[in-house]
Symmetry: C2
Subunit: 155 residues, 2 copies
Amino acid sequence: MLALTRKTDYALVALACLGKHFSAAGTGLASARKIASEYSLPLPLMRNVLKQLAQAEIVRSARGVRGGYSLAVDPHCLTVIQIIDAMEGPFRFAPCVDGLPVVDQVCPIEHICPIREPIRRLHSSLRYFFGQLTLADLLAGKTQVMLNPLTITNT
Amino acid sequence: MLALTRKTDYALVALACLGKHFSAAGTGLASARKIASEYSLPLPLMRNVLKQLAQAEIVRSARGVRGGYSLAVDPHCLTVIQIIDAMEGPFRFAPCVDGLPVVDQVCPIEHICPIREPIRRLHSSLRYFFGQLTLADLLAGKTQVMLNPLTITNT
DNA sequence: TGCAATAGGACTGATTTTATACTATATATA
DNA sequence: TATATATAGTATAAAATCAGTCCTATTGCA
């Protein structure tokens, strides 16, 4: 299904929450419990999501009683593709897209596949698009993100 | 996972195959067996894929000995979103996107969700993008499809 | 120093995707 | 008209992914 998973969804919520209170001083610590309750999301799930984001070094974690998570990077530098990659594994538009971890193996019919090139281009375009889009863009409430009417040029 | 399923992948291959031989006269009949063997894809799968495309009236079917499938619509009019919708159910960028069949129910926190609006906009943008993109675009080997550098306008 | 609150890691159950099989129906052709 | 070949529909099994739970380790604080 060409859709984000629920975990990625939760990750965006959590990061949006942490991002709101972000400053250069590195403030904005919040526990999984706090975030989950603030948005009425299941706590165990939110825990897993934040753990995964910590492993990807998108958030920093602090253990212990007054522990929690905080953004490890500036929201202007954190792109949606990084978040997707962290939560779902490397983004791929289709099963057959080349790039690091191809699902099974190399496509056995790549030399005659009629959709290989178009798929490859769409993959690149989408990856570029989500690689440009930052958490800060999402956070700016008045931000209108738009894909321009697509350009089709004969080259 | 933000990716097309394998079935959609196969559907694109099949449609590309049928589209190559498309003409106003409505030629280009090919059986599931022929398409599967031409691209070394599992026959039972290709059967299911074509059945689904037939139910969505994207291809026409002809039973019997010299039967098979042919495109039911001009490749210039068949959009990628139609193909995705037919194979995977209505496209949605995230689980929480509104539009017809929301996954479970209405989002219980929509009034405070920090990512609702951005997600909604991305969903619309992507849907528009894939709704503009036709099979003919994919088929034209020299077609370069590009998302323009995204535009962020403060409104 | 014990307790309560926190993150970390491993594990399990549920859902979706992928793939196959079987039966029924239609149809061209020998 | 018998037969071979095709789609239509339905059911089901296997695999992969996703969603959710449980237990352990760490740490601040009374």
